[in-house]
Amino acid sequence: MTILAFFLWSLLKVAVVTVVMLMGIAYTVLLERKLVGRIQNRWGPSRVGPFGLLQPLVDGAKSFLKEDLIPTAVYRPVYLLAPIISLGCALIAIAVVPFGAPAMGPRGFDLFEISNINIGLLVILGITSMGVYGIALAGWSSNNKYSLLGSLRSSAQLISYELALGLSLVGVVLRAGSLNLRTIVDQQATLGAATWNILGGGQIVAFFIYLMAAFAETNRSPFDLPEAESELTGGYHTEYSSMKFAMFFMAEYGNMINVGCVATLLFLGGWTSPLGDLMPPLQSTLINALLPIFWFVIKVFGFLCLYVWVRGTLPRFRYDQLMNFGWRFLLPLAILNIVGTSLWLAYR
């Protein structure tokens, strides 16, 4: 494959994945509003389009058309940079996520992953750790006490839970012996759902830790202290309006999707079918290309529903409870999980 063809194919992949991701973000917002509505015994958005399906478009138009207000006392360069960092980090992480069967394109070209690199998992962790700056700088540059408190809370929370998050993934990496996301999926997909890391792999504790830490990392309820509206009037994005606020909003939902993708890849067998070899391989190339994407999307969708369910159910933690939970419970549990997994692998 020539350089030019590679470049064009990659450009196409980036464009398609970015558009799909943005649409995914828009409809995750709708999913959340609908599901939380049903949990609270009401309908949720239902007026725009059939079943309220066009609501995200209207929301987007509203964000664009609102007046873009920049308070006088803000520190402008950083104030303008912060939402871009947030949204950028949320969108970049999807670049290393494989969402379909390998080597389906022309001449073995990897059609369903933007970049297949051997440290894919670490890249996702690295980009996530850079995402903190968006929130931290937004709060600081707004020149507002509530914003600053929100961003300080968020920095502390993200740093604390990043440790537990990273350590919870070590068990999976130990089992796969690789940081390549495709290798990790292949390793757990031999017998379908029975060998997924969450079930046959014995990493259910790691999945639990990852789930908790991921809720905190994405600032989602019950760990949404950085924006706790009842005490901080919106936290780090108090002073943001119009499209800049929408960028933070999109970053939050983008991170939810990313976290769902990582959970799917590491614990739920990625794009592989839960039936494994029970289902005979199909002859049609089209179905063989589309079925893995179907499974991947279904798994991520389930994860997003779980997110919304938790938000509709649990009240917010208090700050000291949050820190105690992270440092005194999740972190030791994650270390124990690593020790246990290592011993088991050494014994086998």
Partner: protein, 181 residues
């Protein structure tokens, strides 16, 4: 291609470093330092050290610099006063730094087993072998004892920090948020 990226990110790195010194506001300096560290990570990547690159981003750009900005924000540090410093330092300092850098670079390039690296090539001689594997071989087989001793050293440092931060007779809040008796 590699050369273009190298010059681009080396330029970013130098610009960030100069900006770091020129800015008077601590948060701008901290942000410039993030740019420097992230560009360095790209340079490592160009040299074929992908694990080192991503470790640089996770540890330095992600963790250390977040703590830096955290402290700057927490202390709400204002602008620095610019002082001229001594004339001797400016006259002797810059040539001395240039000379030192030149000497070090010459020694490193001439040294046995070191020498100039090539852009776009892996660090290992075996093709297709990830340097993650080689690095873990070195860390957990050849240099296991120093590695473990270093981690104990860091543990002691953490314990020391906790002991220093813990004021005698202070009350530790329990999980209910009230000071324990």
């Amino acid at each position: 291609m590699h050369l273009i990226l190298f010059f681009l990110f080396a330029g970013f790195c130098l610009a960030g470093a100069i900006n770091l010194l020129m800015q008077t506001h601590p948060i701008n300096s901290a942000l410039s330092l993030i740019v420097v560290m992230t560009s360095l990570a790209v340079l490592y990547l160009l040299l074929g050290a992908e694990f080192l690159a991503i470790a640089q981003i996770i540890v330095y750009s992600g963790a250390v610099m977040v703590l830096f900005t955290f402290v700057v924000m927490l202390l709400n540090a204002g602008r620095e006063e610019r002082t001229l410093g001594s004339h001797a330092a400016t006259r002797v300092g810059f040539p001395a730094v240039v000379a030192l850098f030149a000497v070090l670079a010459t020694i490193l390039i001439r040294a046995q087993g070191l020498g100039a690296a090539r852009l776009g090539e892996g660090l290992s001689n075996a093709p297709g072998q990830s340097n993650l594997f080689l690095l873990s071989q070195v860390l957990f087989h050849d240099l296991l004892l120093p590695f473990e001793v270093t981690s104990v050293l860091i543990l002691i440092a953490i314990l020391g920090a906790v002991a220093l931060a813990h004021v005698e007779g202070s009350k530790i809040p329990d999980s209910e948020g009230t000071a324990s008796k």
